[in-house]
């Protein structure tokens, strides 16, 4: 796999993108084909992605936007 490490901050990534990159990193690390320096870099990136994913899950407050219409306030959850 090429040097296409997405440099964007994990916190600003979508959950899906962060998870996808994380899986890619795990796969590349497991392949054992990387240079040690590259392994370490990826590991660090993986850890920050993992942290970001967990944080997103833990802190997630469902965001609901109305595009059209108004929701009837029948259940006050």
């Amino acid at each position: 796999m090429e040097e296409t490490v997405d440099a964007s901050a994990p916190e600003s990534m979508t959950f899906g993108a962060a998870l996808a990159e994380l899986e890619e990193i795990v796969k590349s690390l497991e392949s054992g084909q990387l240079e040690l320096e590259d392994s370490l870099g990826r590991y660090e990136r993986g850890v920050s992605l993992l942290r970001a994913c967990r944080a997103k899950l833990a802190d997630a407050q469902q965001r609901v936007t109305m595009l059209v219409g108004e929701i009837e306030d029948e259940d006050a959850e």
Binding site: F15, S39, V68
Partner: protein, 446 residues
């Protein structure tokens, strides 16, 4: 009810049953199963059924002809009439006075026709179905802003996957205007920036209530939606057309939300697994390299650096030793021998060559002086004599056509006719060969 003890005839029994049955007057909705509409018959016979029961019906021909439509199996119809009994067969049946197509029956016919049309266009093909994104960041929901469906979806997504942002298009989903509202809602929400998935939901309702989801426009909006569509429409056993065209069909709004998003629990365990794998992969990679390093560090070179040099040093040493051993003896002896030889050579050499050198010098001087003249002379003589020899050769003369005549013994050359008389033998030598001849005449004067 007490059972009468007095026995009656079969006919009487059926008469009584019939009189009771004929008090039950109803309007019934059912699906036409078998039906027999034949020109010569006085009545039209058919059966109405639902999921668990079948009711034989008859309708007098006159009334049937008046109702103005043709019965066909599969139709949903509404019939009004009374129960009755047909004594000859001992059978109960419903005598239809009024027959109308139930709205739903006609609708189903239309829907089935549309389904066939869209299917023929390939809108329902399995290869058109797109895979749902595993972790959508933004999910659009097109449904009624009122009712249970919208809340079911919101609740389910909040529970399972609060990470996703939810964009709701609250539209009218039944009655007049629902079709265009749904179509517009799907179009707007599906193309909204960032939306990765669209849920089309509707709570349960009657077939008629769900009709907008069977509309061609809605089906085409679903098919044209740029992101995958999951439907969760009603609790109907039958798929709506929207269901058939959608990428994924769930039976209820809640099921649609479940299909649309992964459960947080699953994700958390997946993250845990990934964290383990990440650590393991790195440590494995480090351990593997450390092991390799250790192996290298244990090689002799790194254990004792002098071994790098030792071989060369030994070689040098032995060379030096050999040198120091060889120099005084070998070279000294050779030099001595060479020195001796040189002396001899220097002494003897000139003497050896002096005499021959002088002789050679004389000879070469003489050759140089006399050579050319001698050669010239020799060459001139040789040429001259060769020419004369050629001229003098009798062979050359013979070759020109002359002949030499010898006496019979071949000893004498005959120069005059007088040397022979007629009858003598002579020999004539030609350029090639010899003739033996007998003289016929000998004339001295010619």
């Amino acid at each position: 009810m007490a059972i009468e003890n007095t026995s009656v005839s079969v006919t009487e029994a059926l008469r009584r049953a019939k009189s009771v049955l004929e008090t039950i007057s109803l309007t019934i909705v059912g699906e036409v199963s078998e039906c027999t509409v034949k020109p010569g018959y006085k009545a039209v016979y058919f059966s109405l059924s639902d999921d668990s029961s079948v009711l034989p019906c008859l309708m007098w021909r006159d009334s049937y002809d008046l109702c103005g439509f043709a019965l066909r199996p599969g139709m949903l119809v509404e019939v009004s009439g009374v129960f009755t009994a047909y004594a000859a067969k001992g059978r109960m049946q419903f005598q239809v006075r009024r027959l109308t197509a139930a709205g739903e029956g006609v609708l189903r016919l239309q829907v089935a026709a549309l389904a066939r049309k869209l299917e023929a266009e390939g809108l329902m093909r399995a290869e058109r179905k797109r895979e749902l994104p595993a972790f959508p960041s933004k999910i659009a929901l097109v449904t009624s802003p009122r009712g249970k469906a919208v809340h079911d979806v919101i609740r389910t997504l909040r529970r399972r996957y609060p990470v996703a942002e939810l964009l709701i298009a609250g539209v009218q989903v039944e009655g007049e205007g629902a079709v265009s509202a749904l179509t517009e809602g799907i179009r707007l929400a599906g193309s909204h920036p960032g939306v990765e998935l669209l849920i089309l939901a509707r709570g349960g309702g009657s077939y008629e209530d769900l009709m907008p989801f069977n509309a061609e426009q809605v089906a085409r909006a679903v098919a044209a939606c740029p992101v995958p569509v999951v439907t969760g429409i009603g609790h109907e056993p039958d798929d709506s057309i929207a269901d058939m065209v959608a990428d994924c069909r769930a039976s209820t709004p809640t099921a649609a939300a479940e299909a649309a998003a992964p459960a947080t629990m699953e994700i958390v365990s997946r993250l845990d697994a990934m964290a383990r794998l990440l650590g393991k992969a790195l440590s494995h990679s480090v351990i593997e390299r450390a092991h390799r390093l250790r192996l290298i560090a244990h090689r002799p070179v790194f254990r004792d650096a002098t071994c790098l040099m030792s071989a060369r040093m030994l070689a040098l040493d032995s060379a030096a030793e050999a040198l120091s051993r060889a120099l005084p003896v070998g070279i000294g002896r050779a030099a001595e021998a060479v020195g001796r030889s040189r002396d001899v050579l220097l002494r003897v050499g000139p003497k050896l060559t002096e005499r021959p050198r002088i002789a050679l010098g004389d000879a070469s001087r003489r050759i140089a002086q006399q050579g050319p003249a001698f050669m010239e002379r020799a060459t001139g003589q040789w040429t001259l004599q060769a020419a004369r020899l050629e001229d003098l050769s009798p062979l050359a003369i013979l070759a020109r056509g002359f002949a030499v005549c010898y006496d019979g013994a071949g000893e004498r050359v005959l120069r005059s006719a007088g040397d022979v008389t007629a009858g003598d033998r002579v020999r004539v030598r030609l350029a090639e060969g010899e003739l033996g001849c007998v003289v016929e005449r000998a004339d001295t004067e010619v």
